[in-house]
């Protein structure tokens, strides 16, 4: 049985490596026999990230995939001004992910650490191998690293979508295989989605100069869907300082979050404006309840304010 070689595309941290490769094992074992395998795990390449984590920054979250996603904005208020801390929390868990990616794709059924090449040498003969222990092969010497652009693991060129298709949530994959692409100058379109709204909008970040501007614009854009019940918009006030924006968290029905270049979800308002426009890849208007994790209380608060 030849050794499968894959670029890592799952990005689960190490403990799950057995699960993520089990389909290969199954395939190898199959030989026409329906594999009885740990198939529940197979489909679970993408863990549903609907659960929120309540741990403090720095706590372990080993079974999360690279992107912490919603969990990060949980800590909005506490982490104001501590965005670095958020990042390290995230990168802690991400380390497993980026290791996986940097393992340069030699996940596989390694047979006593022997390389695939060795097996292949036998040219025509079919080499039968026992199903080996599942462990990642050592990091390759050339140590090629892919920049992992998104929170979930991405295989180069998979799914097979053309990069000109702008209307996807993924960023345009760079033309070069190995270089991180930079978005063009000129304009900086990012998608804005809002929980519960039937469609996405796109805005050009370059047309705004400050947080209050962008919140006002977004509120206008999505005004038909907000808020209604809870009264407080994203940025009802005209002169909104960055800290005001944070203050709105508790009261408002909706919270503005964004995904940065590393795939982490951050609260809008955490960082200086320029840094924000440099790193923001898309925006998401989340229900404040989800973001803060205090659903019942927030709703009550809203109701009482009506």
């Amino acid at each position: 049985m030849s050794i499968p070689q894959e670029h890592d595309y799952i990005g689960l941290s190490e403990p799950l490596s057995s699960e993520k490769i089990s389909y290969k094992m199954a395939a190898a074992a199959a030989e026409g026999v329906t594999p009885s395998l740990n198939v529940e795990k197979i489909g679970v390449f993408n863990l549903k990230e609907t659960e929120l984590r309540l741990g403090l920054p720095g706590s372990e979250a080993p079974d999360r995939k690279g992107g912490i996603g919603i969990g990060v904005s949980l800590f909005g208020k506490e982490l104001k001004g501590e965005s670095m801390c958020v990042k390290s929390f995230v990168s802690g868990a991400k380390r497993g992910f980026s290791d996986a990616i940097n393992g340069a794709g030699k996940w596989g059924l390694s047979i006593n650490g022997g390389s695939a090449a060795g097996l292949g040498e036998n040219g025509g003969s079919n080499v039968k191998e026992e199903i080996p222990a599942l462990k990642p092969v050592e990091e390759r010497k050339n140590g090629a690293s892919i920049t992992a652009p998104a929170s979930k693991a991405q295989v180069v060129g998979w799914p097979p979508i053309r990069s000109f298709r702008k209307n996807t949530l993924a960023t345009n994959t760079p033309k070069k295989d190995d270089a991180a692409g930079k978005p063009g100058p000129g304009c900086l379109y990012v998608k804005v989605s809002m929980d519960g709204a039937p469609y996405l909008r796109k805005i050009d970040l370059k047309t705004y100069c400050s947080y209050p501007e962008i919140s006002a614009a977004l509120e206008k854009m999505f005004s038909c869907f907000t808020i209604g019940q809870c009264g407080q918009g994203l940025a009802a006030k005209e002169h909104l300082s960055e800290s005001h924006l944070m203050d709105l968290l508790h009261g408002s029905e909706y919270v503005l979050t964004y995904e940065d270049k590393d795939g982490d979800w951050m609260l809008v308002g955490d960082v200086p404006w320029e840094m924000f426009t440099d790193s923001c890849r898309r925006l998401r208007i989340m229900k404040g309840a989800d973001a803060i994790g205090l659903a019942p209380r927030t709703m009550q608060k809203c109701k009482s304010q009506n």
Partner: protein
């Protein structure tokens, strides 16, 4: 008997007659067959061929072409392997059109049409093109790269008889829009203009004037920089369009503007193809309803509609044959397709969230089933989903046995049937068995060798096969190579097929256009063996960060009359038979 034989030899079929007859033959396959009959037919054919199709620019050289065909007016040329569309090919791999243009300029001064796919086209090349062919009419650049607005400026400025400029799907960076203003004031011959994929701002003024001059314009596809109000002004000039690509729908319209746009659309009675529709939402989508009665192709792949919006739209498009949508329409949206589009032949469903960043479900087997029930004429499908079942696919092909193109992409690699947890082998077995006209197949999901056994056994008309993250042993690939007599293109990525599989196709590859294998289990030695046994194949290994002295991570094999590439960059290794 002998006497008759001699007579035949003395008075052969008059060659003018033969040439006349052959000049009616368009299909390059038929012409190829004709040319093989005998020397006379070969000569007659080469003198009368005016349309050239080269499926792999490296399979032949410009010199060989120039020698054989003296009178070419129209060229279709394809370059890079298809996986370059998905960034699997390093930059500067090749497929540069320049050498071809130099030859065309020398040998075919009356060239009228050039259609390129996946080729690198520099500004210098476009300039050469613009200046070398006084009667040049049609330029189409599909999935090409390498040019900027400078090259387009040359085309606009110098091609006085241009009827078609189609920059479909070509991606350029940092391109300006000044080229559009370079069409001279007297220039009025344009019939097809498509710059939808260019990210640049053009002068609307120049565009409006151009459109008003070109009375024969039948296809106009603008880019996102054109808004609704501007679109209206264009439409009133050319209501007779048969193909329209709108600009962006993201604009706030006053009620008066709304009416104006709506009326402009309603006056487009001949529209067959509609695309663009960026950011079209329920607010403004109804603007186009009036133009859709004779629509045969609706491309909504840039408009992330929901099911309700699609369901409201479709009843206005009663003649629809081809539909492209984004999976935000969901299974419910596809149910609406099944109900409203009985004549549908082609469906493509693209994912809005290919990397599952937002845990969006997209579409499943339910939607596909619904379409198959309502659209029995379906023959082309491209379907991106996260869940599928073997049973559903079997039912789908029972409902629609006429599939010629079946491209199913279950986006999670190695995903099994989500109800039974079994591999998806039976699904593709059903496709292969039931769809006897199948020419193109893309497989996905958890697949063992069984799937490939089915394909090899039943898919006798298969020409193109795409495989990813599949198979359990070399035998899988072998089954396909041995079983599919018409196979022309085989592209494989991230499978465990190794040298044995590669070498099992020794006799096959010369009958094929090309083989691509990446992230499989091939070694340099295995590839060298192939190269040694089959000297008329180019066996190329692309070195990248995952290659080393032994592992051949990206392998491209193709037949060629031109020998090894002369223009190969340093990271492309053409293997010969030496040093086994």
């Amino acid at each position: 008997m002998d006497q008759d034989h001699k007579k035949l030899k003395e008075s052969p079929f008059p060659c003018e007659g033969l040439e006349k007859v052959l000049s009616f033959i368009d299909s390059h396959k038929d012409r190829s067959s004709a040319s093989l009959v005998c020397k006379d037919w070969y000569d007659a054919e080469r003198w009368t061929r005016s349309k050239l199709f080269i499926g792999n620019c490296y399979s032949v050289s410009p010199e060989i072409v120039a020698r054989r065909f003296p009178k070419i007016k129209s060229v279709r040329l394809k370059g890079k392997p298809r996986f370059s569309d998905f960034n699997l090919l390093p930059q500067d791999w090749g497929a540069n059109v320049h050498a071809w243009l130099v030859m065309f300029a020398k040998v075919y001064p009356s060239l009228e049409e050039l259609r390129l796919k996946r080729m690198t086209v520099s500004d210098e090349s476009l300039d050469l093109l613009a200046r070398s062919f006084p009667g040049f009419k049609a330029l189409s650049l599909s999935s090409c790269d390498g040019f900027t607005d400078e090259g387009l400026k040359a085309i606009a400025t110098h091609c006085r008889t241009l009827t078609e400029l189609d920059i479909a799907d070509s991606v350029t960076v940092d391109i300006g829009g000044g080229w559009l203003s370079c069409f001279p004031e007297g220039f009025a011959s344009l019939e097809i203009l498509n710059f939808a994929s260019l990210q640049c701002e053009v002068s609307f003024d120049a565009l409006e004037r151009l459109v008003s001059r070109c009375r024969a314009l039948r296809v106009l596809k603008v880019n996102e920089s054109i808004n609704l109000e501007q679109l209206q002004r264009l439409l009133v000039q050319v209501p007779h369009l048969t193909g329209l690509g709108t600009g962006s729908f993201m604009q706030e319209l006053t009620p008066r503007q709304y009416e104006g746009v709506q009326s402009a659309f309603s006056n487009c009675k001949n529209l067959q193809v509609l695309s663009g529709l960026w950011d079209a939402t329920s607010l403004y989508l109804p603007l186009v309803y009036g133009a859709c009665a004779s629509l045969t192709f609706l491309n909504l792949s840039e408009a992330d509609l929901r099911s309700g919006e699609l369901a409201k739209f479709l009843p206005h498009c009663t003649s629809l044959r081809r539909l492209w949508v984004i999976d935000t329409v969901g299974d419910k949206g596809l149910e609406a397709v099944g109900l409203s589009c009985p004549l549908l032949e082609e469906l493509r469903v693209f994912p809005i969230d290919p990397y599952d960043l937002d845990n969006r479900q997209g579409v499943t087997e339910v939607g596909f089933l619904a379409v198959s029930r309502g659209c029995p004429n379906l023959n082309y499908v491209l379907y991106f989903c996260r869940k599928m079942t073997n049973d559903a696919v079997a039912t789908i092909v029972q409902n629609c046995p006429d599939f010629t193109h079946f491209r199913l992409c279950i986006m999670n690699p190695g995903e099994p049937d989500h109800l039974t947890n079994e591999p998806m082998d039976e699904a593709f077995g059903a496709v292969s068995k039931t769809c006897t006209k199948l020419r193109r197949l893309s497989v996905s999901g958890l697949l063992t060798d069984m799937a490939f056994e089915y394909i090899g056994k039943f898919a006798k008309n298969l020409e193109t096969l795409s495989v990813a993250f599949a198979g359990s042993s070399d035998r899988g690939m072998q089954c396909v190579l041995e079983g599919c007599p018409k196979l022309r293109k085989l592209e494989i990525r991230d499978c465990l097929f190794g040298n044995a599989a590669l070498l099992s196709g020794l006799d096959k590859y010369e009958t094929m256009r090309s083989l691509w294998m990446s992230a499989c289990n091939l070694t340099i030695k295995g590839c060298r063996l192939l190269a040694k046994e089959m000297p008329r194949l180019n066996v190329e290994v692309i070195q990248d960060e995952w290659s080393d002295e032994t592992h051949a991570n990206k392998v491209y094999v193709y037949r060629s009359l031109a020998g090894p590439r002369q223009d190969a960059p340093p990271f492309v290794l053409t293997l010969g038979g030496e040093d086994i």
